[in-house]
Symmetry: C3
């Protein structure tokens, strides 16, 4: 979706405010350059206080007032929190999870497979769409919010699951028992009626099949909402969804509970929320990986539908950081930056997840910085919107492999997302930009010079064939430990590992162990941690061996020229420095140019809608940093809060960035 | 209640003993100077082994024998543990809590809102009172024991809660929805019938309202028992309750589950239990804060109804410490010291919570020290009983603010009680004695020179007005961070913070964050932790600023002359040393004289019934300490185990205290 | 049971394999010298895929093929995991535990007191025995696997428990209430109908009685299976069980949930599984203690029915270690070493608990080492089988005391098994071999020179009398803290402690505390931890006192010549070095000769079937170690992977062992 301008805004909740200040808020927004609000999601009980009784007062207030102030609107369907009356009527709409029955109170506790939930949700969405229909400044819709299956294990869901499985195995129980290895511990199912509650299973194949089914519930749910919304929307209105990521107190990695590529098929534009550590912990990494995933969903620009203003406790940005964050989003391909949320909330659980305004709802330091960003966006937006990235590196992510590494985790070692972030963050620190690929992106492989598969545990034969073809025809491949171990049902292959790729890597292995006091022969110190595969190079060269009294004969890293390309395999989890050296070696092999600057200086590039190359420089640190510019003449589009460079730069010019500062160049 | 002597005793359980040794025990007690036992609480199944079948054999044995030995008795109502037959009859007397249904076994697991529990409890109490009636040496009654709501969330309790809430909001749902902010996450309740199970709520206002209601259940329960007991008691018999404190393996802070001021209205004299670390960890702090709270309940002396003899594992006192502890209780205003318990128990969960006697029930080192205390009490009691404290400092505690800091805790930072103890313990170490105040003690404010509000998150307008008046008319006020943030329903005020007090402090703030590597400009090191409010002094002086590259312009501590008084605000959680400096500064402002001695020397003062000033000196350390006496001539009433001073002291005399020693002076 | 050869094998599961490779596997086994497989346990659903429908295809395949290859078979009854159809039919076969209801999926989640479980299990066992009957190479049967009660608290189990208790107390409720101290906290039971759900109890006597009853369920269950199996077995077929040990990620100590001595009465030969840390963490300790317990069950050699091949993650042995482990088992008295399992599994929870073969099912490094062990066993087996140990030291273990130390644990301190391992491991490191004794082994006491009771909390008068007799007649006794505290119902004795043994030790105590900064006067540093009893020597000598400002007058270790013997009491938990000194002192007193070598050199001795003394030397370390041989001339039976010594050794010959190496001598 091509945007005509940068969108800048905040979620807004007239419903929550302790007094009528709608006009005041809109004036403050307008003054700040905010041109977008997101409304309506999560407030079902406000729109329908009793079964079939509707009240859209707040909706119309917000729509009328925003229209008056020239602020556009995204309307969210409010289905991710259910009203009290609905639960009283159908108590089992509160779902059952692995942890037992849910209680009323929080959001995202309902059974999205429950027919009465769906029936009531549909009625409300249709009514909402009717109400919204007259307003021309509603530019798009958000389906639900951060939808997941909420681990529903309800009777409805489990029945659907059995049907789905019967279909998958063509009603052949023997096929299922064999594929899943159910003889083990007497888990066989020899009649469909015997299918046990999935929640107790110790069979990873069955368990992961259920997790995949739960992701399908999400895909189906969003497609169903899309159909409802699309049937009432205008052609110029977009349909998006606010995808979130794996969460460890902030956005961390791939979302385990949603197949975002499948789910995004329902959308016209991808949206996401990105929350990240700030102040002394701000790195830009979450903004970069979140952006890369969002960009991959529709292979296009995306909307940041939520990000932090003052944020959760401890996230208050240093002066200037909020502005730096906003431009970091743009640098990764975002067309919108929307804060969650405008005002802080005076009650309930997120009272200390603070918005642009503090609880006194007056201008504050954050608001003043927002004003500055708004002015920047207005002034430079046409040069920054619709930035196209052109990455030479692709990282292949996979929900099934993520599930697998939960079922068969590395004891004390990194999770799937930690392995992903180990790879991603190393590239980030090297200023090598990358795209994210899904297992269904086989056709895109040839666009990349280097493809990396971090712990791609589960592979189909189709995928390994594609990777082989990719290397054969000149690509460079890096696979880490735990790549190509099991099939798509998590049955471990019983031929040589890495399955289907031994020829490509010129290497195999059949043993592995944990790494206690283990180094590499070409490195110093105990740089190997938690997991080491004992690689047996056959045709491959040994890039490094383990440094250990008993495992020193085994290779740790191998490389192999295969066809026109090159395939490296990294058999162990190492310090980031070791990985970076290997990545640099492979980038060189692949002919990928390296930036002179390295983290905490961050460089991001892309082509804007005017077909000009845009280069962002960020200094993610407290101290002043310098680098040298290489490239054609460029003009300084925008400088950060402290730097005052000359108006243009030439090849080999020195660039100076103060702490937490940034610089945007546009090639002339 | 004026006591005619010091009470010294132990809980006694003839029921539990492995052999008949009642006569032996009473002889040993008499020899030890024990003049009080507490009996009967917690042994319902002994008195009523089957429904309506009563057996008071043990009761009469204990009453007769104690009478013979001149030992007075407190009889406890035995309602805090339910018999097996009652649970079989009404299984749901075992209550449901947030954690789910209770199981039979432990005490304090019943639904105190259950009508059949109450009915059976009433019958037993009436019967017990009849049995006890003839014994003149029963000096008082204890209602139940350490009563709490046990987190009851039963149907009975939740129904009562809805009734209580309808009443609170005059049946106006809109008022409730607005006051509690229930629009958030679709939590609105638009029909009283829709009121959901409270246990899942994420709304702090609703959640805290339920916690307040649970405290009311306790208040009502004790009042109901008081009425039952009072109707059968003689006028000379007192009615007390054994209040306990927040528990972290020992008494720690304010009891979250009871509004002790409200509950104490049912009593004629306050009672409490105090358990504390001992041996190398003995500080006297728990004895002091527990005493201060107990003193505040009836604004009078109190009874220590339980404290440790040998105590739990690891609490065995060093020789002399038990005696020091007994006098520490007196020094804080106790009129009774009662051990839990006389003998150690040979079965069940508290077998290693040891009494005065060990399991072999013979004289031991602890018993020998008890004998010495008994003799001291007998000899000096008339000079030590009914000690009146006269504190210039008041600390304001509040259950609602405590709840609030659980709902909105400082991540990784101190809890409400930790903040209270940070303040209290600093004063303790400075030998500044203090009283505890409740939000209802407004009329008493003017008696104090310095009032401190640690994290007084929730304030009514009435209270802020009273604090303002207090400063205006000459008082010194110290408020810490998180004071005056929300109303009594935990809705955050939407005007400037601290709500209602910005004029008093001459300061406001609208942002805060966590404190990572933060100091103060007048202090060394990173002395600020977890929480920092970015104070914006307006009329106030800045007592100190943050030492931080980005927050250094903000004040951390402000002070403001307002009217006749002075108001300081401490915006961050600091090392104790920083707090002590501020407290010393404010004591000077308030004209509060300081002791020369500081912790581990502890000084406590009061006026005895003979209108003489009593001064206690304790050395809470292993090593010999010295200080200088300032004041009129005084005689040495009692010296500890090792010190032999002269019989009297004069102004500027040097006082020497050996390790774990004490000294009691009476001004002449 | 006298074995005619060493058994060497692996568990085998044709059912689980991804392709038909039975013939290949048996060929590989034969080549490796494997002469035994264990089959059938845990695969009920394979044999009976639907209620009453049987399919023994895999069984006959395995039996026929193994017979052809000369490989003997142990058949396990497959009752420790239940099929889906059985659970659908009787959902409550999934039991209720303290943690609530079980879910389907894992093994060992059923109610072994459930009549329909037992009925269906019986039918299957009978059918299986019929099928197996024709095969002469089936040498024995394993009853179930690692049977425990699985904490069943089902209605069936609790009803049986009440019956058992009524019987125990001759239907006398008063007796029970007194014995268990149920007056405490109103826990009395005054009608059998009132007996509450045991799961909530806080009464250790009741709780431990239920744990004992649960162990009885296991004993009864195995006896019932034995009867079933024995009725169909040939006289030459043995009956065994795979006992496991307390588990902390590997075998750790005594199994709390089984009275293995009672349960072993059902067997003709004891079996066990031993899993242990490996690689850098290999010590041989688990092999030694596990062997000692297994040896004690039938006072005979035992079968290691399961031990690790590649094992769980991180256990991959260094080259040579697997062989060292196999001989370590023999050195402790094992007649069989069986791997769990032959092949790695491609699905389900134990996919990474790897067998001899890796997932590709080809020869690998582990297989090659197994081949070497097989050849060793074949060559030297007649000299190594049926090794008889002759230990001078006995350690007395007790399930009831173990339970007690869970109910009354030492805060922050060692558990019962940690105390056992502290004693056992100290002896192991001193190369003092020991047997394990049960409280029923009174008649064997006189065979030992030194008996140790680690934390023997619960003692009967019969047992203390036996210990007294033992010392009186010349034995040396060492009791640690927490010995002889309570009766067999965990009621603490109310006479002087250690109950019944004060005369023997010439010592008593009545107080104890935790140990903070405490040493011993003859040792350096704070060598005392967690627990210290304040010993009052009467007739005893004081071997050491506490080093502490207040407890220094109390003894920490006492010794007492009593009758012909000597009794030492260690009142505190100390560093291992302190314990070792005391053990050396007592060994000297008892006339037990000490090895010159100490850990990491490990020496094990025994007499083989040819009445020759066998001496094993192991080097459990990375570095080369030396020691001196003392004894008659001996021939080198076998040397480890690197050492090449001369063919025989003489008194005072130097022995050199490389890292992870071993040496077996046979006296000439």
């Amino acid at each position: 979706m091509k945007a005509d301008k940068l969108l800048f805004g905040a979620a807004y909740y007239d419903e929550y405010l302790p007094e009528d200040r709608l006009e005041t808020d809109m004036e403050m927004m307008e003054k700040a350059g905010i041109n977008l609000i997101r409304i309506a999601e999560s407030t079902w009980s406000t729109w329908e206080p009793q079964d079939g009784v509707f009240d859209f007062t707040h909706l119309h207030r917000m729509l009328s007032c925003s229209q008056k102030h020239g602020i556009q609107v995204i309307v969210g369907t409010p289905t991710y929190a259910v009203p009290t009356w609905l639960v009283r009527k159908y108590p089992d709409i509160l779902t059952e999870t692995h942890a037992g029955p849910e209680r009323y109170g929080r959001r995202q506790n309902m059974d999205i497979a429950h027919p009465m939930y769906l029936k009531h949700a549909e009625r409300l969405i249709r009514r909402l769409m009717e109400e919204v229909q007259p307003y021309s400044h509603v530019i798009g819709f958000q389906l639900d919010n951060e939808t997941k299956s909420y681990d529903t294990c309800s009777t409805y869901a489990q029945k659907q699951f059995v049907t789905y499985i019967r279909d998958l195995f063509h009603d052949d129980l023997d096929l299922m028992n064999r594929a899943w290895g159910l003889d083990y511990w007497s888990n066989r199912i020899d009649s469909w009626e015997d299918f046990p509650d999935v929640r107790g299973t110790i069979n990873a194949s069955l368990g992961a099949a259920y997790q995949k089914f739960q992701r399908k519930l999400v895909t189906d749910f969003l497609a169903w909402q899309r159909d409802l919304v699309a049937s009432c929307a205008r052609p110029d209105q977009f349909i998006t969804h606010n995808f979130d990521y794996d969460w460890i107190g902030h956005s961390y990695g791939m979302q385990p509970e949603v197949d975002q590529w499948e789910a995004a098929k329902a959308l016209t534009v991808a949206g996401c929320d990105i929350y990240h550590p700030s102040a002394q912990d701000l790195t830009g990494k979450e903004i970069a990986f979140g952006g890369a995933i969002a960009r991959s969903l529709k292979k296009d620009n995306y909307l940041v539908l939520e990000t932090q203003a003052q944020g959760n406790h401890g996230w208050l940005s240093y002066p200037g950081q909020l502005r730096m964050q906003a431009f970091s989003h743009l640098a990764n391909g975002a067309n919108a930056v929307e804060y969650w949320h405008w005002h802080s909330i005076h009650n309930a659980i997120e009272s200390y997840w603070k918005g642009v305004l503090s609880h006194n709802l007056k201008e504050n330091a954050t608001y003043r910085e927002v004003c500055r960003i708004g002015a920047d966006f207005a002034e430079h937006g046409t040069h920054l919107v619709n930035l196209k990235k052109h990455c030479a590196v692709g990282i292949l992510l996979d929900n099934v492999s993520l599930d697998a590494l939960r079922w068969f985790s590395i004891p004390g070692g990194p999770s799937y997302n930690e392995i992903f972030r180990w790879v991603f963050d190393s590239l980030y620190e090297m200023n090598v930009e990358c795209d994210i690929l899904s297992p269904n992106d086989i056709d895109l492989f040839s666009q990349y010079k280097l493809i990396i598969t971090p712990a791609l545990y589960s592979v189909s034969d189709e995928l390994t064939a594609a990777l082989k073809r990719y290397v054969e025809t000149g690509g460079v491949l890096l696979s880490t430990f735990k790549t190509a171990v099991a099939d798509r049902m998590l049955k471990i292959y019983h031929d040589d590992l890495p399955h289907g790729l031994t020829e490509v890597f010129g290497m195999t292995y059949d043993q592995f162990t944990d790494a206690v006091h283990v180094g590499l022969q070409k490195e110093t110190g105990n740089c190997v941690h938690h997991w080491m595969e004992l690689l047996l190079p056959e045709q491959s060269e040994t890039l490094d061996r383990y440094d250990h009294p008993h495992w020193g004969d085994y290779a740790a890293i191998t490389g192999h020229r295969f066809g026109q390309g090159y395939a490296a395999y990294l058999g162990c989890y190492t310090d980031s420095d070791v990985l970076k050296k290997l990545l640099a070696f492979l980038c060189a092999k692949a002919g990928i140019p390296m930036e002179e600057a390295v983290y905490p200086l961050v460089v991001r590039r892309g082509t804007n809608g005017l077909q000009k190359e845009i280069i962002y420089y960020f200094n993610y640190s407290e101290t002043t940093m310098e680098t040298v510019y290489h490239g054609p003449d460029a003009r300084v589009l925008l400088a950060g809060q402290e730097t005052v460079p000359s108006v243009s730069v030439k090849d080999r010019d020195k660039l100076t960035l103060h702490g937490w500062d940034f610089l945007i160049l546009e090639e002339i």
